[in-house]
Amino acid sequence: MTAVIDKPVREPRWWQAPPRPTWEEEPSKAGLAGKGLALTLACLAILFPLWIVVVTSLSSRKTIDEVGGLVMVPKGITFIAYKELLSGGQVTRAAIVSILVTLIGTAFSMTVSVLCAYGLSRPGSLAHRWILMILLATMFFSAGLIPTYLLVQTLGLTDSYLALILPSAVSVFNILVLRGFFTGISQELVDSARIDGAGDFRILWQIIMPLSRAVIAVITLFYAVGYWSAWFNASLYLNDQDMMPLQNVMIQLVQKQEAPVGLGQAIKTGQLSGLAVQMAVMVMALLPVAVLSPFVQRHFKKGMLTGAVKG
């Protein structure tokens, strides 16, 4: 056979549709327009409220008063609300608390979850079915709010940041997803490492973990978002207002419309808009999540499905 020189096939640009299979009919103009409209509306329903929040948080008091409330079209940008909130005081402290609880909690949750997932992922190991059953059963019942509340009190965790981490440190679902991934890694690889003298910790660290970066990224995000978003345990177990994380402070500021401690004067005397302050706190709460989650997005499907259903 003679070599056939292919005409260079140009990759479709992003706005162009990739070639359709021959049996598929071309979509109608109306159908395409309808689809585009539906998709745009769905995305706008999510993005438009966020746009208002961000723009208002960056607006000066003058602009906000002119518009009579929330600002939709930016007119000059000022960071005064953020500057005031982050120059020490209630919100600064709350943000630091939230960041620390999230970092430490996520590190702890990931450590114990990865260890457990690996410990349960080796076929035929002693008692792994039993342990799996113990974990799985918790997905079917909950002990109830009141007994858990009394337990945390009895353990002396009230007014301690441990109460924000320990009771919710483990998600059985996350462990199952990790385990599903780990069991999928070829046994030969693990065995050859073992013959070379590697112990379980080393196998986990040098073979399993590097091969599972995607799922580890997803589960880390899940845990981190959980800690970052949590407010209920803090409201239950912390009595000291100065210890509250960002979400709880946001409840006070936005839902109960209170001025942040220390900024009441600045808002009354008019340099600062109370509304912009509220919005700035909301932006602080959504920014880390909005920035991080798209990076992990392409792994979601993998992370959500492998192992979770396999059980």
Partner: protein
Amino acid sequence: MSHSTVPRSRAEAKKKSPTQTPAASGGTTGPGDQKASGKLSLRLRFRRDRVLLLMTLPVVLLVLVFNYIPILGNVIAFQEYDPYISDNGVISILNSPFVGLENFQRIFEDSAFWNAVQNTLILFFLQLVLFFPIPILVALLINSVVRPRVRAVAQAVLYLPHFFSWVLVIAVFQQLFGGAGVLSQLLRENGYDGINIMTNPDTFPLLITAQSVWKDAGWGIIVFLAALASVSPDLYEAAAMDGAGRWRRMWHVTLPALRPVIALLLVLRVGDALTVGFEQILLQRDAVGPGAGEVLDTFVWWNGVRNQDFSYAAAAGLVKGVISLGLVLAANKVAHLMGEQGVYKK
């Protein structure tokens, strides 16, 4: 740590595990092999797997402490629990008098409880009808988008609110629909009175559902997208060859492919019927009042955490827990009868 339980030297154990198993099963399989493990005594298996067991220990301990031990605490539902006896809950429980089923009797005579039951069921059915189908439709829409960039961007936007906290979602809704929100602002500019949907008890179930849709409908499409991606293109081609158009292909190929997933999710949802967004509703309970804003979970919270009537609240929680467990098991049974997989296998 295990020296006392296994009376062998460490060196021997080390020598044992790598040499023994390859010999036992032909040299290609490792110590974790199923065949090999069947031949080993319990003690040897323990020695071999103790590191693995050690690794699971932290999680097992956390789960036992925070998921299993509290189950015992439900005993206070049958007591007149007095939290002031001691800071230690165990001592308080041991010294509180038993009252039999008195707490449960009180619950079933409490109109506030039945109101909470009613609100819970209303919210459950509303979410089932209005929320459940939306991710399926959105998934079909996204699945029909062939341009990869458009698809990725749309997915990124749709997934985003899932990662927001309920506090934030409700704050956003307040800026849109609250007394000082965008909607009221627009109405006032056009000469109408402003309205505050956030505090209106009549529309509260719809508000809750709308918030759930905004937050989680996008995230819900993931499972359906995966199911759609696993449909073999040959099926579509064969259907097209047989003259099936776009819509008939969707009816005869796409939807049957989604059926197991839909069944599974329905089962899960029904099993979880009595849980209707605890944090979300608790955050807004005071704004609309308990008449519309009390569900079973917040009823437990209000009586236990706020009124410190622990026994009463624990009894209500226990009623909910037992019914929920029954619902999960029943829903699985139905799934099995329908020939679907359910949450656990038969």
